[in-house]
Symmetry: C2
């Protein structure tokens, strides 16, 4: 029997229980912005201890508790960190969920629940993998530190401080990051870095209170002012025109360009899924994947002002308007600096009276493409998955990698994980394919074993 078959059998033996763990975890409404993490940390602590971990709770003033679960392994000189997060995105719009977000439901071989893909699926798969590993081989290949934070979906506001405060406890040689992916066709994907994010809230109050709209002829309009301010951030094609915004951007190197060209992106499936006929600015082929990884964005997450009841009429000049914008950043942009550029841009264009609140910022991060973990994960993937793994030098989404990769100097790699592009991350009806969940448990065992065998560079 091959190693892979051995692992698959071991996963199958406990698969119902592992799925039940995932359902239990997904039933806990640990929405980051709603501060509901206590039940979740208790559940995780219990599970980590059950597996034999020594558990510590890491926090700084104002932060939710992160969990550190430490396991000893055969090679006591090497430590692998596994980073995941236990918090989830808010659930609205609630009415679009087919089943309630915190009542995990199975339909068509998929488990639907908020957090199923982002990131409880990977977290529970990895915890399950440890159980399988210990069961099969008696001992982990090296020390393992599970580092599980509780405000990733809220911009990891305190994460950098936690990493600094506990830099000794968090020492490690490599770090498994959150989750790689399966693509729409179920082909594995992994990556070595991620975009940064600057999330701001813009708020403008033009007059003391809402007014009858007839006086819009002489009284200033908060909606118009904020709308024009936001409009000034890009040109008509959507290119960001904030002065200095692009200055620090470093183009990808030759190996990255090579990888970009090798990325198979199922454009047809994605177009169909989104219900559109072409991508922004006609992007296609490697121009599309290049943009996906290396183009920054300015996205309007929300805009609200005045009277918004569908079909209703109220002739009102709203006193106030509010918008949320996220900027995805690429190396070597800096979140704090970009916030300053946005403020300066608004000021220079007559919108200095708009209140800009930085809700969070995370710097873009990249790690070496030939790290020990990376080599092990790539080799294990070749032996595990039917399809070749697609290597993204860089991920289009954002995580708080910077404090670990750059702050603590730990190379990061995200091996393939349970999520797919149609998993509805951050959206109603989030889900994972249950088969993917089992597959990733097994693959995790496989790359942990490979990691133990891989000689550090």
């Amino acid at each position: 029997m091959t190693d892979a078959q051995l692992i698959r059998d071991a996963v199958a033996k406990s698969s119902d229980r592992f799925l039940d763990h995932l359902k239990q975890a997904c039933a806990i409404p640990s929405v980051a912005t709603e501060g509901m993490g206590t039940e979740m940390t208790a559940w995780l602590e219990n599970r980590l201890m059950e597996l034999g971990a020594r558990v510590s709770r890491l926090s700084v003033p104002g932060s939710p508790e992160a969990l550190l679960g430490e396991f000893s392994g055969a090679d006591s000189e090497r430590t692998l960190m596994i980073y995941d997060h236990y918090d989830v995105q808010p659930v609205d719009p609630l009415n679009l969920w087919i089943s309630p977000p915190f009542e995990p439901a199975i339909r068509d071989g998929r488990l639907y629940a908020r957090g199923a893909a982002d990131n409880k699926g990977d977290l529970i798969a990895r915890l399950s993998a440890l159980e399988v590993y210990l069961d099969l081989y008696g001992e982990l290949p090296c020390n393992i530190k599970f580092f599980i934070e509780g405000e990733e979906e809220n911009g990891s506001v305190h994460f950098e401080d936690i990493c600094e405060a506990y830099s000794e406890e968090l020492k490690a040689d490599d770090c498994v990051w959150e989750g790689g992916w399966m693509d729409l066709d179920g082909r594995p994907e992994m990556y070595y870095g991620c975009k940064g994010l600057l999330y701001i809230e813009l708020r403008y109050r033009a007059i003391t209170g809402d007014q009858h709209s007839s006086i819009a002829v002489y009284a200033p309009s908060a909606p118009w002012h904020l709308l024009r301010a936001i409009n000034s951030l890009t040109d008509d094609e959507g290119n960001i025109v904030i002065e200095g915004f692009h200055d620090r951007i470093v183009p990808p190197g030759p190996r990255e360009e090579e990888l970009i060209h090798s990325i198979k992106f199922n454009e047809e499936a994605m177009l169909k899924r989104l219900g559109i006929t072409e991508f922004n600015q006609g992007l296609t082929g490697s121009a599309l994947t290049h943009a996906l990884l290396y183009a920054p964005t300015a996205n309007i997450d929300g805009f609200e002002t005045g009277y918004t009841v569908p079909g209703g009429q109220k002739t009102v000049l709203p006193a106030e308007a509010m918008a949320k914008i996220d900027f995805r950043l690429v190396p070597d942009q800096d979140g704090t600096e970009v916030a300053g550029l946005v403020r300066r841009h608004l000021k220079d264009h007559g919108f200095g009276d708009i209140e800009v609140s930085v809700m969070s910022h995370e710097n873009p991060s990249r790690s070496p493409l030939d790290s020990t973990l990376g080599r092990a994960a790539e080799k294990a993937a070749a032996g595990w998955f039917e399809d070749a793994v697609t290597i993204y030098p860089y991920m289009w989404a954002t995580g708080p990698m910077f404090p670990i990769a750059q702050g603590l100097g730990i190379p990061i790699c995200s091996p393939p994980g349970v999520g797919r592009p149609d998993s509805n991350l951050h959206a109603p009806n989030e889900h994972v394919h249950i088969a993917d969940f089992y597959d990733i448990i097994g693959y995790t065992v496989a790359y942990l074993r490979e990691y133990g065998r891989t000689v550090p560079a």
Copy 2:
């Protein structure tokens, strides 16, 4: 004793009861967009019949019922129509009301309630005036038709049809329109016409469902598209740049210009009230009053998309965005035509995929400045109010005058009424000064008496 003193004494005798009527009427939540008019029409019918009216209910398919209360008077050859509406604006944002909108409360000599100023205050004052008139003089000066509609705040969608269907029943020589005003200093104001209104809802769906904002790099954004579409409607100074929009605008004539220059607008008080230091585009003096009466506007009543919880973070590419815009129109703009121009403009500028729903439109309307009613109301005002009445040839707000003034050919005039610019029409904490309410009851008696004496031109 002068006529005026006689009237004041008669009002004072029943003032508590009249105020109680106003409180009763304001306690009924007759929000137009929420279809809650039945209790209101029953209350009004009862009050009209108590005063001796013959009451009919006028409706067309889909409309709420309008009430017609007919009184016979001394001069059976002349009929004065009095137009008011019993519906009120929605109450949100509810949390900004100091006392609940449908629990009338008295503070500092003012009655706070939704509808207190717009338009139940004038309606109840006029019903009270009929009682005083009958009490003092035994018989009304001419026939009077109270015409009270129920969807003025919802754009009077069926009003034109009602006027056409009941053109016989609605015949009259003059029409008292809704309500003139007191200015911020309590000086009376009257007017002879009003702006039109086109209210549209814009809706755009870019993709099938909300997505993780990382894909904003290639997937179209509904908020950006709608924001750019709206932005295209004006230049940076707020001037409307819709092709053909200004073509039909007729500038005011010499008498109108004269009146515009005579308008006393308390700029300082309004600036203070709004919490601003100057008006749009630096407007002041007669340029300000000119704009107030004769400049059209494009006002954003509401805009909503995506995630809008204050202080929260959700990195989402919203699938959909919605906005409500009202255009105030001036003679001789036509609501239907302007809706077509907006659609064409959007199409010509790359926004033809945005869904435009016309929620309502009312054409601007003006009446002769020397009508029988106008002369009577002006003369009575001179004898009643301490301050000279300010005559607006035209009102900055909108009412469904067009079907009466142009459709039925009945000259319209709005004598001074109970509202003031700080009455918070369409906004939280709507109110009237109770002294103004009593004053307008008496003044109504005075101008009805004067109307009876005025010889038609």
